[in-house]
Structure formats: structure tokens, C-alpha cells
């Protein structure tokens, strides 16, 4: 509608008067106070010195950042990246076919299928994590099933001990973040013009070739958004890893959590937080270019 576009500026592009500003001011104040100020305080704290028992000495130091480069903490960062990366890859591999199937389903069924994916995630993620205990427990359902199918003495010599292992952590992480991968990919798949796939097939591209040369590039914005929405929260998670590993596997989130609890080293915790923030910005910068459109669209 070109007419509508022509009318719009008359009313729409308008400088705010004092009333506009008056209404807008609380919003700006909220952002300044609860988004900008906390981040600035985090940055300032990261240059202070921790005195133990939650006390701080306000003299400027770079010691906290130097400490991050100790092997113990580099290991923590590396392990967090590995776990979050593995979660992201598994979510993409498991979620892509689902997103594709839903996105290509008849329009009348798409909403219902999408709702089926979303409903489990409206319950607490902690509850959902604990629900896995019933399955993975030594006397849990999985071992019960394997025993009744006579797989335990034959294939596995003794009951499986999955709980409190990296496998349990991975299962719970993938379970927690899978919908955040499925949703954005679905958004991209739904918009995909099917004639492009047909054209690729007509021109002689096999399924593999047309997937990597046509489908994947076209749905990449969705996948990139999914990667962002899974990797970023997964890297900073502490609850799921702590619960499923019984506290045996420590990631960067666990370290930050402990530093901010009573008696922790707040400045060092702040420095770790800043490092995580930088890691987040880098991830965002790499993937955001393509995913920004999808994120804004949802």
C-alpha cells in the first residue's frame, strides 16, 4: 500500500514534545539504573581487591585479571566452552530435522506441532532436570527397562551408572535448550521458498548437495540465532551441571556463583563475570550479523 506509506510520516515522524519526553524518561531511567549502572559497577569491582568475607579494598589493581589466566581458571573457561559447544551442536543436529518437519508441515498443523514442542518448557527447568533422576537413577527406569529386556546381564554386565556423569550433564543440557534451537530454525524454514529446493533438484543437485548448498545457507539466519540462544545461556549455566554431576563437574558459572556467595571474593568474581561478558560479546558479534533479523522477527 504505497498510500499508507506516504501518509505515515505525517503522523509518525515527529519530534517528542515535553510530554513525550516525560513519558519516555522513566524508561530511560530504568535502563540507566538497572542495565547500565550494574554493568559499570561490575567493571569497577573487577579492579578492586577482595578482602575475604565479602569485603573489598577499593585500590585499583589488575591482579584479578592476571589470576584468570592461571591454568585452573583457563581450564574452567575451556570446559565451559566445550560443554556449551557440544550442547549447541547436539541441539542443532537433533533440532534441525524437527524444525524442518514442522516448518514444512501443512500450515494448519504447524501451530499445534510448535505448541507440542513448547508446552514442556513452560514448567520449571529445575523440575525438568530433576525429572531425569527417575530415569537415570541406579534403580531408575532405564536400568529397570534394560533388566526386564534382559539386556543387562547380556549386553551390559551391570546396571548403568549414568547419573552424576558427563553423559547425564549433556542429556540435561540438551533437554533444557532444545526448544531454543528448534524455534528460530523453524522461523527460517517456514519462510523458505520451496521452488528454490525444486530448482536445485531440477538442476541435478542431490539431496546432500542441495542441503549444503541451498537449504543450509538459506536457513542459516535461524540456525545462527539458535546457536546464540543455546550457546550463550549454556556457557553460564550452573544449576543443571551442578545437579546432574552431583557437584563433580565445575564450569565457569559455578565459580562465579561461589565467589558471589557469602565470604566470596567479589572483585575476582566480577573479573570472571567481565571475562564471560567479553566471551558473550564475541559470540554475539560472530553470529549476530545473520541472526539479528530472526531475533527481531520473533
Amino acid at each position: 500500500m504505497p498510500q499508507a506509506v506516504a501518509i505515515q510520516p505525517a503522523l509518525n515522524v515527529r519530534r517528542p514534545g515535553w510530554r513525550g519526553w516525560g513519558l519516555f524518561a522513566p524508561m530511560v531511567a530504568w535502563l540507566a539504573l538497572f542495565v547500565v549502572a550494574p554493568t559499570a559497577i561490575l567493571l569497577v569491582y573487577s579492579f578492586f581487591t577482595g578482602e575475604g568475607i565479602g569485603e573489598v579494598d577499593t585500590h585499583f589493581t589488575l591482579e584479578n585479571y592476571r589470576r584468570i589466566f592461571k591454568p585452573v581458571y583457563l581450564d574452567l573457561f575451556w570446559r565451559s566452552i566445550v560443554y556449551a559447544g557440544a550442547t549447541t551442536i547436539l541441539c542443532a543436529m537433533i533440532g534441525y530435522p524437527v524444525a524442518w518437519y514442522i516448518g514444512r508441515a501443512p500450515a494448519s498443523r504447524r501451530g499445534k506441532l510448535l505448541m507440542l514442542v513448547m508446552i514442556p518448557f513452560m514448567t520449571s527447568f529445575l523440575i525438568r532436570t530433576y525429572a531425569w533422576f527417575t530415569i537415570l537413577h541406579e534403580h531408575g527406569l532405564l536400568n529397570g527397562f534394560l533388566e526386564s529386556a534382559h539386556l543387562i546381564p547380556t549386553v551390559f554386565s551391570h546396571p548403568l551408572n549414568i547419573l552424576y556423569t558427563p553423559t547425564a550433564v549433556m542429556i540435561a543440557l540438551v533437554y533444557t535448550y532444545l526448544p531454543f534451537m528448534i524455534l528460530p530454525i523453524y522461523t527460517s524454514v517456514e519462510k523458505l521458498d520451496p521452488s528454490l529446493i525444486e530448482a536445485a533438484a531440477d538442476l541435478g543437485a542431490g539431496p546432500t548437495r542441495s542441503f549444503f548448498r541451498v537449504i543450509l545457507p538459506l536457513t542459516w539466519p535461524g540456525a545462527a540465532a539458535g546457536i546464540l540462544m543455546v550457546f550463550v545461556p549454556a556457557i553460564a549455566m550452573f544449576a543443571v551441571t551442578k545437579i546432574m554431576s552431583g557437584g563433580h563437574i565445575r564450569l565457569i558459572g559455578d565459580e562465579i556463583q561461589e565467589q558471589f556467595e557469602g565470604g566470596g571474593d567479589l572483585p575476582f568474581g566480577s573479573a570472571l563475570g567481565m571475562a564471560l561478558l567479553i566471551l558473550f560479546l564475541v559470540t554475539y558479534w560472530i553470529s549476530a550479523g545473520r541472526s539479528a533479523k530472526v531475533l527481531r522477527g520473533t
Binding site: 503522523l11 547500565v36 559497577i41 530415569i135 544449576a239
Partner: protein, 268 residues
């Protein structure tokens, strides 16, 4: 409209539905088990083994008697309600003002508003904790509500902005031409038009707030403890079946809410 896959892909036709069903089983199995075992008549509240001892409503009765648990459920609902109301006002207001007026640096402001949606929650949690410490605001209901609103109202704003993108400007013009004040026009013309987006954003806010753990963890005090915090702290000593019972009620509430929304939408 169904778009058939390229010919020669009959394997995909079988694989995709089968895979989707398998993933749905993976998604629902733990939740169904959680609900089923909330009725398990095991002798001990902390027995998590999968053995079935018969049907009981014991854990639902025990749940009502658990004062700490009931307190946390009440806190969760109070906080989520307050967060939803404030987020709707802030989010709708921000979206409308940014649509209606051209503010200097509006682009940067937009990014700043959306930042809490994607920033790692633990960073939001610890930085807000430092802020509250610095300004001497004691941790309690208020700090939790402020923290939740900060990452929830962008979701309302995004939903409202999406709907505003399709608004016909003559809608407001007509109201103004007929003599309505800008404020009257906003509440009697714009708000009704935006209502589906406001409801959707509000519902999302409510569910996000109920489930929030990481930011809450750094901003709550003993009195304002929410359900996720209670679950996390109780898990260290061992999970209780009364938590299964509470979760089952929350799941039932969610499913009813979603079905009601869907019913409303299909009627329109």
C-alpha cells in the same frame, strides 16, 4: 500449504516424522514420569526409585502442610503477577513511544533494551546484586521484582513492536480528527488494537518470571524465596515427592492456560 520435498527423498518422508515423534517422546517422557510418580505410594518422601507402590494422594496432602513450600509458591505467584503488570506498562509504553516519536539515539536505546533478553543471566544476577549492595537496597521482594522486570519487559516490547509494525496510521488520525485527546486515542483505539500482543507478551513474562532461577538466586532473601530457589536448595539434601506434586499442579495450570488461549484464538 504442504510443500512436498524434492523427488527421490522418500527416505526423508519417513525419517522426518519418525524423528520428530522420537524427539517429542524425549521431551515429554521426564515430565510424564514426574506427574505419574507424584501419585506413587512409596513409604518415604525422599524415595526417588522407579518402583511403583500403588496410587496415593498423600503427597498432595503433605504439600499443603509444608509451610515453606506453600510460602515459596505464594511468593512465586505474587512476584510473577507484579512483574507482569509492570512489564506490560513499561514494554507497551516504550514500544508505543518509540513508534510514535523519533527520539535521538533511538537505535542505541533499542539495543540497550533488548540486551537483557540475551545477556547471560548470571551476569545480570551478579551485577544487579552489586548495584543493590552499592545503593543499600536490601534484598527482598522489591529487588527480585526489579530484576525480573529488567529482562521481562523487553519481551513485551518486542511483541508490541511487531504488532505496531502493521498498524494503520489512519486509525489514530481518525480518533484525533474526531476530537479525542492523544491519551484518550491511545487507550480507546491503540490499546485495543495492541491487545493480542500485550496478552502474548504478558503471558510470556508470567511464565518467564515463574521459572526464573539464576537472576533470582542473587537478588532474593529468605522471605522472598521463590519455588525454583526452594527446589534448588532442597535438591542438595535430596528431592521430595511433594515437589513432584507441586510441579504437577503447575504443569496442569500451564496446560489449561495454553489450551484456553488456543481456544480463544480459534474462536476469533
Amino acid at each position: 500449504m504442504a510443500h512436498p520435498l524434492p523427488s527421490g527423498n522418500s527416505l526423508a518422508r519417513l525419517f522426518l516424522p519418525a524423528w520428530t515423534i522420537a524427539v517429542l517422546v524425549f521431551l515429554y517422557l521426564p515430565i510424564i514420569l514426574l506427574v505419574v510418580y507424584s501419585f506413587n505410594n512409596v513409604p518415604n518422601n525422599m524415595d526417588l526409585s522407579a518402583h511403583w507402590h500403588g496410587f496415593t494422594l498423600r503427597w498432595y496432602r503433605a504439600m499443603w502442610a509444608d509451610r515453606l513450600l506453600m510460602q515459596s509458591v505464594r511468593n512465586t505467584l505474587i512476584i510473577a503477577s507484579a512483574v507482569t503488570v509492570v512489564s506490560i506498562v513499561l514494554g507497551t509504553g516504550a514500544a508505543w513511544l518509540m513508534h510514535r516519536f523519533v527520539f535521538p539515539a533511538a537505535g542505541g536505546l533499542q539495543t540497550l533494551i533488548l540486551l537483557p533478553m540475551i545477556i547471560p543471566e548470571i551476569i545480570m544476577g551478579v551485577s544487579l546484586m552489586l548495584l543493590f549492595r552499592a545503593i543499600g537496597l536490601n534484598r527482598g521482594y522489591l529487588t527480585v521484582i526489579i530484576a525480573h522486570v529488567t529482562f521481562c519487559f523487553p519481551f513485551v516490547m518486542a511483541a508490541v513492536q511487531a504488532r505496531l509494525a502493521g498498524i494503520d496510521p489512519s486509525l489514530e488520525e481518525a480518533a484525533l480528527d474526531l476530537g479525542a485527546t492523544p491519551i484518550r486515542a491511545f487507550f480507546s483505539v491503540i490499546v485495543p488494537y495492541l491487545m493480542p500482543a500485550i496478552v502474548a507478551g504478558g503471558l510470556l513474562t508470567f511464565t518467564l518470571s515463574i521459572d526464573e532461577f539464576m537472576v533470582t538466586y542473587f537478588t532474593y532473601d529468605a522471605r522472598s524465596m521463590t519455588l525454583p530457589i526452594l527446589i534448588y536448595s532442597e535438591a542438595r539434601t535430596g528431592l521430595k515427592l511433594t515437589l513432584n506434586a507441586v510441579s504437577t499442579l503447575f504443569i496442569a495450570g500451564t496446560v489449561i492456560l495454553v489450551l484456553a488461549m488456543e481456544l480463544l484464538r480459534s474462536r476469533r
